[in-house]
């Protein structure tokens, strides 16, 4: 059979057209498959018919006991929904449900998008708790797995504070060691503190001028160790005042400080053999209000013009107002505080300033008692430890950064771990 040339051409054309058609069909099908695949990987998609904005649930939800507490807390952590991690997130938030002893789950908290942990502080040790999370979009909710039942547990020791305990123990042992050493008659050198050396001179000046001594123990209550330190110094100062037969005024801003200060001065006067010279009016309460107190003390300074002013304890914004007023009436001023922000004001306005630790050392220094001086020596061991750690830390960071030495990185991280613990 002979096939004509035109028939052959037609067959070729038909074949080519079929081939093109098949290729087009294949392309369309594969494009649809790609679209379908893409849709299946993007979970936050909208189903055209239903209009639902689907979102994925959270994963890896874990409920565990919160470490180092009195069995009062459970810690929950999870990986947020994959849709919550997209830039254009459709997740509106999470609802945390809790079931107690297998009972009906109840909503515990509504959490914003991006949350990945929660601390349940409303638990009891004798109960068992289960949790799950609902992730929700504007019209869709999906639930996570339910955690295993768990109860909070009590711990006896807070191991997070282990290093702090060891350091505190080390310093305390050092202090007690030097106290015992001093008790056995070992002589200890303590550097001179100008502000404390000047106390006798300052009280003597007041006596000579026939003017009173003003003692201000800060504006905090007896629960502040600075106030306690101020009262220990008051014990020594009032003894000197009683010996010199001078006069003391002490306006206070806390009632408890008033009663404690009266007791301190009274005992000092009795120890000096002059109980008759003591009067309760030496210490008087003014007000708890900060600037009301300042106004009263400033007025007292201007009217009575004390020869000597002691500003010892916890001070805040009133420090400079008091110190400058004292300066303006020509008083010799001895100040001391453990609040670093107020120290520059005292240094600028007062004749002598006890800086931080000197305030706490004052009583021991003034007593001259070996046991007390021994405790100051023990502090030096703590300072030595602090200096060693600082030098080690600086070296570790420098060497680790400059030469990338792994052991120094480890030392740096270890130091961070030790001194960052709460």
């Amino acid at each position: 059979m002979r096939v004509g040339k035109s028939t052959f051409l037609h067959l070729c054309l038909a074949f080519s057209l079929s081939l093109i058609l098949i290729l087009i069909l294949l392309t369309l099908v594969s494009a649809q498959e790609v679209d379908s695949l893409r849709s299946s990987t993007d979970s936050a998609y909208t189903i055209p018919d239903s209009g639902l904005v689907l979102v994925a649930p959270v994963t890896s939800l874990i409920a565990e006991d919160y470490k180092y507490d009195d069995g009062e807390q459970l810690k929950l952590s999870w990986v947020p929904s994959i849709d919550d991690q997209l830039v254009d997130s459709k997740v509106l938030g999470y609802r945390l449900f809790r079931s107690i002893d297998g009972g009906t789950p109840e909503i515990l908290a509504k959490l914003p998008p991006g949350t990945n942990s929660f601390l349940d502080r409303t638990v009891q040790r004798e109960r068992k708790y289960q949790y799950y999370l609902e992730t929700f979009s504007e019209n869709f909710v999906v639930q996570s797995i339910v955690t295993a039942a768990i109860s909070p547990e009590r711990e006896w020791l807070n191991l997070d504070r282990g290093w702090l305990f060891i350091i505190a123990l080390f310093i305390s042992i050092a202090i007690i060691f030097f106290v015992e050493k001093a008790k056995r008659g070992h002589k200890l050198y303590v550097r001179k503190i100008a502000g404390l050396e000047a106390i006798d001179e300052a009280v003597g000046r007041a006596t000579e001028m026939g003017r009173p001594v003003l003692f201000i123990p800060g504006i905090n209550d007896m629960d502040d160790v600075q106030t306690l330190a101020a009262l220990t110094i008051l014990g020594r100062v009032s003894r000197t005042i009683a010996d010199y037969d001078s006069q003391i005024f002490m306006p206070v801003s806390r009632s408890l400080v008033m009663t404690a200060a009266r007791e301190t001065i009274k005992t000092s006067y009795m120890a000096a053999g002059r109980p008759d010279a003591y009067s309760d009016d030496m210490v008087n309460y003014v007000t708890d209000e900060q600037f009301g107190y300042v106004a009263a003390v400033d007025g007292l300074m201007v009217r009575e013009r004390p020869a000597t002013v002691f500003l010892l304890g916890a001070f805040f914004a009133e420090s400079l107002i008091l110190a400058e007023t004292g300066n303006s009436v020509g008083a010799i001023q001895i100040a001391g505080t453990a609040r670093p922000a107020q120290l520059p004001f005292f240094i600028a306005a007062c004749d002598f300033t006890l800086i931080g630790e000197e305030l706490f050392a004052a009583s021991a220094y003034l007593s001259g008692e070996p046991r007390q001086l021994g405790s100051l020596k023990g502090q030096d061991v703590g300072k030595g430890l602090a200096m060693s750690v600082i030098i080690l830390g600086v070296l570790a960071v420098t060497i680790a950064t400059a030469w990338d030495v792994e052991i120094m990185h480890n030392v740096h991280n270890w130091l961070l771990g030790v001194f960052s613990s709460n």
Partner: protein, 216 residues
């Protein structure tokens, strides 16, 4: 006994407070709350001691017509007005719109702000004395203070525009505050922390007794 009992109480309470920081278990977990409550109760009763003392001293001043007794009258009248209004308005005396809050807001607060405002003048006078370049230390203080103040205002960078960016006044001020200032402050803080430990131990162990009137 008058000395031993307070020393014993101080020692026991001190040890318990140290322990409660490291032991989360009951009863140590509650110690802080209990002592806080007790302290508040004692403080609340003690306020009457303070208030009565204030009234007594002011009244004696007025009766004896001592110097400046006029101020004592102001104290007594103010005290009586505030207490009377506070009691008359009951539990809600601090709420907005009460007479007590009106007096606090429009009488006490402006007076308090006036006292606080004095600080501006005192800072100026104290700075003048502190910054006088009498010796090397004071000169260094003056220079540091000058650079910090210039670096904290826009004009600082304007007048140092010709310097490289890292040497302009705002950067120099930040450097001083971040490094030398922080280093100095931390040294003081370490000293304070050690002083606290030492003082606390002396009080807990009964070595320090001056706050009880001194002596042995």
């Amino acid at each position: 006994m008058r000395r031993e009992v307070p020393l014993l109480i101080t020692g026991i309470v001190g040890v318990v407070f140290v322990l409660q920081y490291f032991i989360p278990h009951w009863p140590f977990s509650q110690v802080n709350t209990w002592f806080s409550d007790w302290f508040s109760i004692v403080g609340a009763f003690a306020i009457w001691l303070g208030a009565l003392n204030l009234l007594k001293i002011s009244a004696l001043k007025v009766i004896g017509k001592k110097s400046d007794w006029g101020y004592a009258i102001v104290i007594i009248i103010s005290f009586i007005i505030m207490v009377a209004i506070g009691f008359a308005e009951g539990k809600e005396f601090r709420e907005q719109g009460t007479m007590f809050s009106w007096l606090y807001e429009y009488v006490y607060s402006p007076l308090s702000a006036t006292m606080f405002a004095l600080l501006a003048f005192f800072v100026a006078s104290a700075s003048y004395r502190a910054f006088r370049a009498r010796n090397l230390d004071a000169t260094l203080l003056l220079m540091a203070g000058f650079l910090i103040m210039l670096g904290r205002v826009p004009v600082g960078d304007s007048i140092s525009f010709f310097l490289p960016e890292n040497y302009q006044f705002s950067q120099v001020a930040s450097w001083i505050m971040t490094w030398p200032q922080t280093a100095g402050q931390r040294a003081i803080m370490i000293g304070i922390a050690l002083g606290l430990v030492s003082t606390s131990l002396r009080i807990i162990l009964g070595i320090e007794r001056a706050h009880l009137g001194g002596g042995d």
